[in-house]
Amino acid sequence: MKLSLAILLFFWFVKGFTQISDFKHIDFKKADSIALSYPNEDLTNLPELSFKLTSHLNTDVERFRAIYRWVCANIKNDYSLYLKNKHKRERFKDDSIKFKAWNTDFRKRLFNKLLKKKQTICTGYAYLVKVLADLSDLKCEIIQGYGRVSTTDTKNLTLPNHSWNAIKLNGRWYLCDPTWASGIPNPATNRFTFNYNDGFFLANPKLFAVNHFPIEQKWWLLEGENPTFDEFLNAPVIYGNAYKTLELHNTPKYMHHNLQRFQNLKLQYQLKASIDPKDIWLLIDNGFQSKKIKPTSVKLENKSLNIEHQFNRKGFFDVHLYIEEDLISTYTIKVGNN
């Protein structure tokens, strides 16, 4: 009896989401400083690079961290290459021969550009992380799938558009997204700017699932049911900042809501660290103007954040949640008559 209870408890502990908090006892300062001390390395000698990044670190998670951090700090995202590929893939999607030929040709160009200029698109990041990890005997995989951001055209999202990684540490798989962690294109100029976001490293799979849809089911790493593609397309938009601040995005599951006048929109999150509730505000856009307002109610208990907001006017609104100056998520609300 005692034994079976112990086994049960063991599995209960072993199961559950794999994420960064499993490594709370590890300080990544050393791994990060090693990664950042090689800003001028090129990609002509990958075994040497992998060796330099990992040989002075004692744990697999630190070794992986150094590789991941180096890739995020040194590989530039090539926006024009991304657009060109997107355009061609869409053009050839119904012509399998041309589609395949384009992919082959593009792969070669991409590797060449990665090698010579350290510029790439997602798969290049995920690929490099995997190769460098392999060379240090770490088990890492590339995950292909769909990524959804604020500018994604969800009505026409038919082809996979994003790649990220899974890494096996202490016998368990974890998720990370080196592309999105490395930086974002400047919204005005579309030029890529390095701006490391630590939230994508060993992220909570449940949060990750809000805007990452893997082609292979096994890479959800979720307990219970995996989201359907429709659920994924209709999920709220979350931004890079969400990964810094949120542990979980619990409610709502959908982006769009139909409400009656005086009805409340209810939002529920689990935070990574406590914040000052005064820093929470909404930007509500009715199509003509945006207004910065405080939500009707904000409750924060043990990092569990509950926000409610009442809509008193009819209309169609884009509701953006901000914490301080960070845009976290967006929902759309249609308010009708009672």
Binding site: P47, R107, T120, G124, T151, L327
Partner: protein, 143 residues
């Protein structure tokens, strides 16, 4: 008294189990000893390894060849040829890498002195969506 005999029996059993475990440790131990012996024996047999690396189109230059776990290494010339700068022993592992091609691991055998490898491309589909900090904007019908 009865209980005493019982515990004694049990402790014999435990000792037996420990004994068995220790024996099994001994049984595994010689393998380690043997492999060490082989390495030292072959140490005198260290040799220069040469080779040629190509892909489906022909010889491949700038390919990296590194001894696993060390910083010993070299790159191929334009003809895809290399001469490994350090003498190698049986059991050493070479990693052959070139960005975009599958990494090859070669274990040096007793008779390895020339290596010929055709690298295969990593057939990965290249895709990429960027993250965006732009606030979402609903498409609205124009009045």
């Amino acid at each position: 008294m009865k209980t005493h005999v019982f515990t004694q029996k049990r402790s014999f059993k435990t000792i037996g189990l420990i004994g068995f475990l220790m024996m099994s440790l001994l049984a595994f131990n010689p393998t380690y000893g043997q492999s060490e012996k082989t390495t030292t024996e072959i140490a005198s047999n260290a040799r220069t390894v040469k080779g040629i690396i190509s892909d489906e189109k022909g010889p491949l230059g700038d390919v990296n060849i590194v001894q696993k776990g060390t910083r010993n290494g070299t790159v191929t010339n334009e003809k895809g040829e290399f001469t490994f700068p350090v003498k190698l022993n049986t059991g050493d592992v070479l990693l052959v890498t070139y960005l975009g091609y599958e990494t090859h691991k070669i274990k040096i055998k007793d008779d390895t002195s020339f290596i010929e490898i055709v690298l295969t491309e990593d057939l990965i589909e290249m895709i990429g969506a960027l993250d965006s900090g732009k606030p979402y904007k609903s498409k609205r019908k124009k009045n």
